[in-house]
């Protein structure tokens, strides 16, 4: 997994967007005079992705994730910068490049609404000139992996969202591309469908060394799938490292979950930083730079009727929320550089 298949340098994209004030008069005015503003959606992104990697790209809405993915897939021309994906420049070699690319847009469908998914699969077979034998073998494999044997012969409009998404996934990987972009692949799905789709992605990555780039707002996708995660905020990368690094981002802060054998008065816990509490339990945060964790735990065991203690890292949601709200750039392996 050492071969770099995506190399991005200084990628920028600026859009000219219409700016319109509120109200009817303003609409009338905009017929004659238009105000435009330049929006810098992507402000210089550098990134490397290795073959066989499952890379998560996350960020708040409007951060520039989709624009980056669109430039990486050849849909948009960048304003500036270079991209090398498997030796191709996506927007210049688009037709040849996309033969090696699979894309799933969780909120857009490529299935024919009135026909069964099998008809769309056959169209894809024709489009990518997949040999008959390969097509049959792959389809059989995907059918059993995703449990869609029955539904591929039913009209798409009669399928549930989860069933449709599984078929969309088949559309994206039927030609076995070495690189697949998944844009919110589990959006709106139930927990079982999500798990099936995640397992499918992991197996494809294991068996075929397929590289997946996943953009999502569901942190469970990131936690369950990704080797590395890139966080984009306001058009720049603010974190680019392994999942382990993200999990231990606040290495000097721990969360201690304590269960009591009997109710404990709230005021007795005043000396701790309580995150949440119940009648028989409490979660407290401990800054290990300031306090000795061992001492604090012993103190708690000594003072309260403790049934169970669980020491954890700060939840990943909190880490990500912190990174989104603080424009602090983390470069490479944990080195922090203030940018804002």
């Amino acid at each position: 997994m050492d071969e770099i298949i995506i190399k991005v340098q200084g990628l920028r994209k600026t859009f000219k967007k219409l700016r319109k004030k509120e109200g009817f008069l303003s609409s009338f005015r905009s017929l004659l005079i238009r105000d435009f503003e330049r929006i810098h959606s992507v402000k210089g992104i550098d990134m490397e992705i290795r073959k066989g990697e499952i890379r998560g790209i996350i960020g708040p809405n409007g951060a520039g994730k989709s624009t980056t993915i669109k430039m990486l897939s050849g849909i948009l021309f960048p304003t500036e910068g270079t991209v090398d994906v498997m030796g191709f420049t996506p927007w210049l070699d688009r037709e040849r490049y996309v033969r090696h690319l699979g894309v799933l847009f969780g909120q857009k469908s490529q299935l024919w609404w009135d026909l069964p998914p099998i008809d769309t699969f056959l169209l894809i077979k024709e489009m990518y000139r997949i040999p008959e034998e390969d097509f049959k073998a792959r389809l059989n494999r995907f059918k059993s992996m995703l449990q869609i044997e029955r539904i591929i012969y039913q009209p798409v409009r009669t399928l549930s969202l989860g069933e449709r998404m599984k078929c969309e996934l088949v559309c994206a990987v039927l030609h076995e591309p070495p690189l697949v972009f998944l844009d919110e692949p589990t959006i709106g799905l139930d927990i079982v469908s999500k798990e099936t789709i995640r397992e499918f992605i992991k197996q494809m990555s294991r068996d075929k060394q397929t590289t997946f780039i996943v953009t999502t707002h569901d942190l469970a996708d990131i936690e369950n799938l990704c080797d590395r995660v890139t966080i984009i905020n306001k058009g720049t990368i603010v974190f680019d490292d392994s999942m382990e690094r993200l999990s231990s981002y606040f290495s000097n802060r721990k969360v201690v979950e304590i269960k009591f054998t009997q109710p404990v008065e709230e005021k007795l816990l005043d000396s701790y930083k309580v995150i949440s509490s119940g009648a028989m339990s409490v979660s407290i945060e401990i800054d290990t730079g300031e306090f000795d964790l061992k001492k604090v735990i012993f103190e708690i065991l000594d003072r309260f009727p403790v049934l169970d203690v669980n020491i954890m890292n700060i939840p990943i949601e909190e880490v990500i929320k912190h990174i989104y709200s603080h424009e602090e750039k983390v470069v490479g392996y944990g080195e922090k550089v203030g940018v804002g």
């Binding site: 849909i75 037709e95 024919w112 009135d114 056959l122 169209l123 024709e126």
Partner: protein, 264 residues
């Protein structure tokens, strides 16, 4: 060449899927065809009324105009069958951002757009056109020469190429301006000039319709070929079709660079 062959295969595949999809709703499918035949039949009837109640068109008899009308209907049907869906598809796709999907397929996007153009409703005009043409043949006693069929085929291919070019211009405008609903009507009004014999127009307009926007290749020249009164203008018209198509492709690629997609 491989790309063109691939696109043709895709077109046929899309066409089959389009028909299968339309046949799911049987009532809509059957009434659609009947309404289409009925509406298409109104055109020749109006022309008949016009011709019999006025002095008609210079150099054209009633039966010759019947042949012109038959071929015109046939062309309308063919045009709608082949690419009738493209305008709706492109407008909808660009507006919603679904056009991205075409850019992720290993073919020229404009080719894929044209491939998705099959519209079954055109079948009604085709049937009406065949009926009126057969009637005109019967009344005119048209003789077919050795060169008639090859010339008709060349005219047909160039006519399709010209219509593709006009459709590509339309798609280019949509890519650039995103929402421009009434542009469709503008295109229709301009191409409506082809609904009448070219020789009824003033000279300047005639030159435009033969050389620069050679609409004459759709119905006028095929009728002239069958009536055995062809002129050299056809060669300008055929060359014009190729020229306009080349220009449309250039404009398309220029506009494609300006595509901004929709928000993610």
């Amino acid at each position: 060449m491989q790309t063109v062959a691939g696109l043709l295969r895709l077109y046929v595949y899309h066409m089959k899927m389009g028909i299968s999809s339309a046949m799911i709703y049987r009532a809509d499918f059957i009434t659609g065809i009947f309404v289409s035949i009925f509406v298409s039949g109104i055109g020749p009837f109006v022309q008949f009324l016009y011709f019999t109640h006025t002095r008609g068109y210079p150099e054209w008899t009633l039966n010759q105009i019947l042949l012109f009308q038959g071929l015109l209907l046939l062309w309308f049907g063919l045009r709608d069958l082949l690419f009738g869906q493209v305008r709706n598809t492109v407008m909808d796709m660009v507006w919603k951002g679904d056009f991205d999907r075409l850019l992720l397929k290993p073919y020229p996007t404009v080719g894929l757009l044209l491939c998705s153009g099959f519209q079954l409703h055109g079948i009604g005009s085709c049937i009406a056109g065949v009926l009126v043409t057969v009637l005109a043949f019967h009344r005119l006693d048209v003789s077919i020469n050795l060169w008639t069929v090859p010339l008709l085929i060349v005219a047909l291919i160039c006519g399709v190429v010209l219509f593709m070019a006009i459709t590509i211009f339309y798609c280019s405008i949509v890519i650039m301006l995103i929402q421009i609903s009434r542009i469709s009507e503008l295109f229709d009004r301009i191409t409506d000039f082809a609904n009448y014999p070219v020789n009824i127009y003033p000279l300047a307009l005639r030159v435009v319709m033969i050389v620069f926007l050679p609409f004459a290749v759709w119905t006028y020249y095929p009728t002239q070929i069958l009536l055995d009164r062809l002129d050299y203008g056809i060669w300008f018209a055929l060359a014009g079709c190729v020229g306009v198509f080349y220009l449309s492709i250039k404009v398309w690629y220029l506009c494609l660079k300006m595509y901004t997609s929709a928000g993610g």
